[in-house]
């Protein structure tokens, strides 16, 4: 009797233990199936098994990209228009000998440097084709300009004849032979003539506003025809017979300011039209 009751208790305990162990195993299986990371399990296994859970609840210490929102790109500021300024002549090629002490190549370089400053003050980027007394062929000048893709190319000249300031666009009768992306070098400017004429008008207008005599003309002048952007040439001339005026600082400053105003007006208008 005593033995029977004892053996029944043992049996009940065994049943209870088995039930508890089964329940525990079932619970573990359910937990494993739901993917809750176990403290003792390797982290890589847990992460690979639960990518969605991980991404929806990122740990603050983990640098995980947020896939619920599109990535925010910083908006780049519009590039500032580039103006290429070409002081004509240079090196052994002095240009016009305006008087025994004033050479055209020096007058154009001094004016180009002033113009670069004036355009910078108006928020534009300006580069010089030559910034020293060096020889450059007209083809080199055009190649350098075309590689820079400026919004405007301005070639500067000076003469001793007092016929007013000349603003020139290229004299091109017709386009040369084109083949796909290749265009005729001598008439490469042809498709940019409307833009060049617009620049010419703005510059001539700004000059006249400043009380200067300015004329819009065409010229067979290299390298204007080879430039693949809006392109103009500006020729300084003394207002009277005194050629030394061309190298005077105040005269050059007035010309430079008027030129910069005209160029700024052209660039603003062409940007607004784009």
């Amino acid at each position: 009797m005593l033995w029977n009751s004892a053996s029944r208790r043992v049996k009940v305990s065994l049943y209870q233990g088995a039930a508890s162990a089964g329940a525990l195993l079932f619970a573990l299986a359910v937990i494993a199936a739901q993917g809750v990371p176990l403290s003792g399990a390797p982290q890589g296994q847990a992460q690979s098994a639960t990518p969605t859970l991980q991404s929806s609840q990122p740990s603050p210490n983990q640098a995980v990209p947020d896939q619920t929102l599109p990535p925010v790109q910083p908006v780049p500021a519009p590039p500032k228009p580039l103006v290429m300024i070409d002081p004509a002549h240079g090196g052994s090629e002095s240009g016009a000998v305006l008087n025994p002490t004033i050479l055209e190549k020096d007058v154009t370089l001094a004016l180009a440097r002033r113009l670069r400053i004036d355009l910078g003050a108006r928020g534009f980027v300006a580069e010089l084709v030559r910034d020293s007394d060096v020889n450059l062929s007209t083809d080199d000048r055009a190649a350098k300009t075309n590689a820079a893709h400026p919004a405007l190319y301005v070639c500067l000249h000076a003469t001793s004849e007092s016929g007013g300031i000349g603003i020139y666009t290229p004299m091109l009768a017709e386009s040369g032979e084109t083949s796909g992306p290749f265009v005729d070098w001598n008439t490469a400017q042809f498709s940019f003539l409307p833009a060049s004429r617009a620049a010419q008008q703005e510059i001539a207008g700004a000059m006249q506003k400043s009380g200067m005599l300015a004329r819009s003309l065409t010229a067979a002048l290299r390298p204007l025809g080879n430039v693949t952007n809006a392109a103009v040439a500006v020729e300084l001339a003394p207002t009277k017979a005194d050629v030394s005026q061309l190298s005077a600082a105040d005269f050059q400053q007035n010309i430079s300011a008027a030129l910069a105003n005209g160029i700024a007006q052209f660039l603003s208008t062409s940007r607004a039209l784009r």
Partner: protein
Amino acid sequence: MIPRQFLITVTLLFALTIAMSVYVWQLRRREIRAPRLTEKTEHVAPPMSGAVEQVTVYVAYDSPGELRAQSISIPLAAGRQQRAEGLLRGLMRIYTAKDSTHPLAPGAEIRGVFLVDPGLAVIDVNSAFVEGQVSGVLPEELTIASLVQTLATNMPGLTRVKILVDGKEQETLAGHADLTAFYDLQQIAELVKGLSPQQ
């Protein structure tokens, strides 16, 4: 002993040599001081012949930077090519005159005008023409526009003009105006409008 006649002869010859040396030295000094003519300045073109005609030429004025039409009376030959040469040589006489409004060097001349095909004229100028040209975009344009427009007005049928210097192609006239290309007469006509005196 030296003979007396021999001594007298030697002395006379020595004196003559000294006198000749002094004379030659004087001649040399005079030559150095005299002004030297380095270049021939007068025209070498033959005189124009033919009936005198009144024609319109386009004359450049440097001071206001203008091109003005002007009537002149010059003898012109009947042949088309000689007529073209006569026109431009008449223009050269205006530019090489003392009171010229667009002075060119005294020796500047038109060597020839060649009508290569019905629409093309080739103007050949001499090197003095180029050397005496004032350098600058406007002064050089005035010269070219003056030549081309004078031809275009008086020689119907022309469409293009090419300019050579001493029979060869040159890059520019005096550092600016491009001479490698052909000048289109319509483009020049547009330029002439811009260079005409403003009303």
